[in-house]
Symmetry: C2
Subunit: 242 residues, 2 copies
DNA sequence: CGAGCCCTTGAAACTCGTCAATGATCGTGG
DNA sequence: CCACGATCATTGACGAGTTTCAAGGGCTCG
């Protein structure tokens, strides 16, 4: 199977078992897609939301901009990731969304979301998936609030590894990550300079290298320990949770 | 009306119009309550969730504890606040919850939640309310990540004011807030000492005083400006959104 | 081949944390 | 009614982690 919806179905299938009809429905509602280039705005703070986005390929992020230019990235969206289906109730979004790497995006209408909600397996998967997304936000708050620069970066890389693995985008302990150090800084609430120094420290300790958008985790166990990473928040709602 | 569910109904009623029957249903499912004292655990990270909590009186918080004792408070729950109804799908929670001020708590069963979901007005209100809770989390991430200690504290106090006002727990620009400076520190990712210094700065500038659990905002406009607070994230989904 | 973006590095400054000690407040029991 | 202990607020001195500023170097793409 290599439909455009492949990653999305794979992502959701971790939370629920799908019948062939469920899968056809998912492919159906995501049949119309939009290709986006880097820096395309997918949403702007204060505007009506209307559609629920599904990232089929590429990468995007939610972020908030302060008036003076400071920026906090709130979430990454990898292939297979989607917005909260309840968004269709929302008058306006409070965050912006932009494309970080050329993307293919499905934009679900309220009708499509309602159609999905009528399939119990899909509705259940989306609910559990949305709960995981909230768990990620909570972990990011802990990360930014109470971990050192070193732990933050290590923790984020562990999380990304687990999330990309779930949709088949890792090879061993390596994966592509099209982020600049400045973007990592806006994510982790660190200056780009300090991200750089911390990245070099991780490299020096032979835990991780991150060069040319290519991340290699050389010692996963040690990185996990050093960062205090526990993947429970990412998979405790899955079908076969540990 | 002074039923135990008063604040809860008032909180949700901002997002949807309720019929008398809707109100009876809300009172009904929250009829059985539990009284909790300070430091009671309402949930523990890693345990099954089972119930969706509604805080009818008092105050509670969600938090995460790191192995070495560092703590991040993830959310405050004031009277009228509740957990995400989708929690009933969740195998285990990833956070802990504890009581900050003597509380009366309703613990909704999955059956109760499902009953509520069958009332369209209530389901819609809960969905919008849950979206607001997520917006609060995003704003907290911005707060902890990219605002100075001074802005963080000011922003948080503005937010709390708006939230308490929504359930009728403010008088003018004053309200009760049973938090220690250490708890504020765990919320804002600051040391208790620095919270103290920042609080004195706010006092010195005649913006806010916070003494004996009593907050008075002396100059709301100035505080809002100094903290960069925009209440849109708290009310843009309400019935009569600005 | 140049322009632009990104990474790298050093030095200085600053915000905030830690440590430590003193006070204030409050509930409790003698 | 007062002594006591506990919790919380306050203050000062010092130190650490991180930011900012600035400059140089490398890569990529037109």
């Amino acid at each position: 199977m290599s439909s455009a919806a492949y990653r999305w179905i794979r992502r959701l299938a971790r939370f629920s078992s799908f019948t062939p009809e469920d899968q056809r429905t998912l492919e159906d509602v995501s049949a119309v897609t939009r290709r986006c280039i880097v820096n395309d705005d997918l949403a702007k703070a204060g505007e009506p939301s209307e559609r629920v986005l599904v990232i089929l390929e590429g990468m995007a992020c939610r972020h908030k901009l302060l008036p003076d230019g400071r920026r906090q990235i709130l979430a990454y969206l990898f292939p297979g990731d989607m917005g909260d289906p309840r968004q269709i109730m929302q008058a306006r979004v409070d965050y912006s969304m932009c494309v970080l790497w050329p993307a293919e995006v499905a934009m679900l209408t309220a009708a499509s979301v309602q159609r999905l909600e009528r399939h119990p397996n899909i509705a259940s998967a989306m609910a559990r998936y949305a709960l995981m997304q909230q768990a990620i936000m909570r972990e990011w708050l802990v990360n930014v609030g109470h971990r050192t620069a070193f732990e933050r970066l290590g923790h984020l890389l562990c999380e990304i590894h687990v999330r990309l693995e779930a949709v088949g985008l890792t090879r061993e302990h390596a994966f592509e990550l099209p982020l600049t150090q400045a973007e990592l800084g806006d994510t982790l609430a660190l200056s780009a300079v300090h991200v750089n120094r911390t990245l070099m420290e991780l490299r020096r300790l032979k835990l991780v290298t991150f060069q040319n958008r290519h991340v290699v985790i050389h010692d996963y166990a040690a990185l996990q320990a050093a960062a205090g990473f526990d993947p429970a928040y990412l998979n405790s709602n899955e079908k076969h949770a540990p």
